[in-house]
Symmetry: none
Subunit: 231 residues, 2 copies
DNA sequence: ATCGCTGCTGCCATAAACTGTCAGCAGTTG
DNA sequence: CAACTGCTGACAGTTTATGGCAGCAGCGAT
């Protein structure tokens, strides 16, 4: 393997691109399996080659977008990961999102060289069977409401069978083993609440956007959690 | 200037792309200012990194088209599906495959139009927590054996704690709730068998390929199942 | 079949590059 | 202020890259 260094530089670039937030040199050094001093040298090399990597003391490194690394192709493992993920989505998500996953994979396949295209079809990784409760609500519509940051009016029955009607600000959707759970700010309770999609009796999408950004809501919600959702 | 080699490899790639006809190694060596011997080594390095360069004796080198990922367009739903799938892989698969999923997503993000790139970060779909048993075997090595259609020698303990040693032909890997299951043709039993990866005590990859195609094995295995694996 | 061109590999000595450790300076955050 | 982080220099040990040489094998034309 006489590619040690070049390969490592590409890995480093890829790692930097994977993180969006600033990453400390120490972390990068560990991930690439190299000493901190060498990491600094690697960064300098990449910068010398034109990569727009910004480093700030006390912060870390960030890669400015738009830098193309030449061997821009998926590895076999990456394709396997994409296929496996898509197969899980096909099984666990509602039909419409499942279809979107298949479409996305097809688009990726379309730009792949012939021999790599085969790898998508012949990927040997499969997802175990998964029973999924029927959604009574239209999950696609919920996803749309989240994207558009629009208020949802819910007609909801909780586990005790109590039926309530509330306006909520939807900001995330959790895919669990058997159910999907909508996470939202509840205007009624003035707090975060979650709602199983199979218990949503009826639903209406309002015309108006709710007054906050969904990413901010998500961030605040995370801070209330003991175990944070990763990524 | 510790970038001599990496930079030269990029130049080489660019030069190969510029020519469309086959180019001889001698020409490439001159253009990159290096000896012929080194040029051969450089080509080997690029090929090792995944570049699809074809060399024919008496002809020269050609870079197969389609090596670089072109810009791709995805719908919002397709991106959501890709992100959700990748997040599931990050949680359910072994670290290496999980990382590959994240890398793939980052590569997709890199060729996305700017305004779409944000949607990857702000996707509001999440995967519920998932406890996963530790693998005792190296699942990455198993995936590799499947890809290469190579014989695996297993040291395996079944649920009764009986330990056996067998040669198998691995052809698929199932990702279930808590475990991963290797599906293979067992030479000992002359039949299909499945093996939980957390029960594999030890494992060795043989040099030789097994005498059949893994896709055929998969097809035959499916016919023995009551509930077929979809897709 | 023979010849020239070309890809490809192994070997080896030398030169160049890389690497880790240690030490120190400077900027940011809390 | 303290803790963290980026950044640079120097040095010694190690690794790697390189070029030259020799030889084998596939391709095309003579």
């Amino acid at each position: 393997m006489p590619v040690a260094r070049s390969e490592r530089l590409l890995t480093l670039l890829q790692t930097l691109r994977r993180y969006r937030r600033p990453v400390t040199g120490t972390v990068l050094a560990q991930e690439t399996g190299v000493s901190l001093r060498t990491l600094y040298r690697d960064i300098a090399s990449l910068q010398a080659q034109g990569a727009m990597i910004e480093g700030e003391a006390g912060i870390g490194y960030v890669l400015k977008p738009g830098f193309m690394l030449p061997p821009m192709m998926f590895s076999e493992e990456e394709l396997e990961a994409l296929v496996l993920g898509s197969r899980w989505v096909a099984r666990a998500a509602e039909p419409r999102l499942a279809g979107a996953g298949a479409d996305a994979l097809a688009k990726i396949a379309a730009v792949l060289p012939d021999d790599m295209r085969d790898m998508i079809d012949s990927a040997a990784l499969f997802v175990g069977p998964k029973r999924r409760d029927e959604d009574s609500a239209d999950v696609s519509a919920i996803r749309r409401a989240i994207r558009l940051e629009r208020i949802l009016e819910l007609h909801y029955g909780d586990e005790q069978g109590r039926i309530s009607r509330r306006r909520v600000w939807p900001f995330a959707l959790g895919y669990f083993e058997h159910v999907r759970v909508l996470m939202a700010w509840c205007e009624l309770r003035q707090d975060f609440r979650h709602f199983r999609t199979d218990r949503i009796i009826d639903m209406a999408l309002h015309e108006v956007r709710y007054p906050r950004r969904r990413t901010v809501l998500l961030k605040e919600w995370r801070e209330t959690q003991d175990v944070p959702i990763e990524r």
